[in-house]
């Protein structure tokens, strides 16, 4: 009986901790937004972060997009062929990518590559007292270090998701039309008829924007809040990837339910 009480108490303790942490993270997010002015006045800072988060993630995004598209093409063809609808391969590849796989998979990859890098960078700055040094030099670290990374990542995320989807469609085209021999004309024309710019593409872009914000806030917060030791930083990096991934999938469900209900 004692053991049960103890484990319930421990569980409650942990849940309270998680909720408290979310509150601190929310406050941190608002602070970042409020202190964003200087990053825009010195746009060079944001440009540097777009390079770190966006350009350096290009290779993994483009290659993964290509592979995902090719797999969609293969698997899709297998299934559609049994219903004699292999002409609809274009629709299948395009809709899957633009609505779901593009934003979600790109965000997951972004979280593991750019998100963990951000957490490690900021955590290391904390551990080597660079953040404290900045504060002692009367420079607000949130404005100078955190906000530029936030905007750099949030700007990069939708672009990366679009590149992922575009590469994926190209991959589907390669496999379906070039390799298997699905009719090229119907591949593109059926796709165009079925993919709506407002509903599908803009929704996808909006999703990737939301994911970008979520991943970046989590990455920045974990780094900023990490215990200033080597162990603390490495744990924070792992937490970033795990928490971001869960957040992406959870938000995906919520957004999809809102956007694609009744269409």
């Amino acid at each position: 009986m004692e053991a049960v009480i103890r484990s319930v108490r421990g569980l409650g303790h942990r849940i309270v901790n998680v909720v408290q942490r979310m509150g601190v993270a929310a406050r941190f997010f608002v602070l970042t937004l409020l202190h964003s002015g200087p990053s825009f006045r010195r746009f060079q800072l944001i440009l540097h972060e777009i390079y770190s988060a966006g350009v350096l993630s290009l290779i993994i995004i483009l290659v993964s997009g290509l592979f995902v598209g090719m797999v969609l093409g293969l698997q899709g063809y297998e299934t559609l062929q049994t219903y004699g609808s292999s002409d609809a391969l274009g629709i299948l590849v395009a809709l899957s990518l633009v609505r779901e796989l593009g934003p979600v998979v790109a965000a997951l990859l972004f979280a593991s590559r750019a998100g963990s890098a951000i957490t490690a960078e900021i955590g290391l700055m904390r551990a080597t007292e660079q953040i404290e040094a900045m504060e002692m030099m009367a420079v607000d670290p949130i404005a100078r270090v955190v906000a530029p990374r936030f905007w750099g990542a949030v700007i990069s995320m939708p672009l990366l998701a679009a590149l992922f989807s575009a590469m994926g469609i190209f991959g589907g085209y390669l496999v379906g039309v070039v390799m298997i021999g699905v009719d090229e004309g119907s591949f593109w024309s059926q796709m165009q008829a079925a993919v709506d710019v407002k509903n599908d593409i803009l929704n996808g872009v909006f999703k990737s924007f939301v994911f970008g914000v979520a991943v970046t806030v989590i990455a920045l917060f974990e780094g900023y809040d990490a215990p200033p030791t080597a162990e603390g930083v490495s744990r924070a990096t792992t937490r970033t990837v795990v928490t971001s991934s869960l957040a992406i999938l959870g938000l995906d469900f919520i957004l999809t339910a809102f956007m694609f209900r009744g269409v």
Binding site: Y51, V55, S156, L159, L163, V195
Partner: protein, 160 residues
Amino acid sequence: MQRATLDIWVGAFVIAGLAAVLFLALKVGNMAGFNTGQTYAVSARFGNIGGLKRRAPVKSSGVVVGRVDDIGFDNQTYEANVTLALDSRYRFPADTSAAIMTSGLLGEQYIALEAGGDKKMLKDGDKLKLTQGAVVLENLIGQFLYNKAGEKGTEEKPAQ
């Protein structure tokens, strides 16, 4: 990383990203489709709307001229009340008829407008008088079986 090199890379990245968005919008989606523009509202009553959903296309001669805006139920007449949002570029005569069709055998349902001959045109808020409800598959099959049974009956009579 030299500042000039960094700027080039970032610029190339942003351009590539925007190009991807443009590619998706133009080549993959249908921009020529009906997404932003002036519309006017026209309503129509149907006995049965079948599987018609909001945002379903409204077509005339096979071309998309509008979208289904709202679907409601009239508790007095027990009929479905459908509001259509028609593109302001296209005007239809006041006696235009609307029918619920299915694209393909098992495809999604849409509204087909057949232009009438009236000199007066439909205005915002007008009602369509001639409508034809959706063909429900169960009724069709039931009708087919009934017809078949009837045919058998008339066939057998001469044999007797």
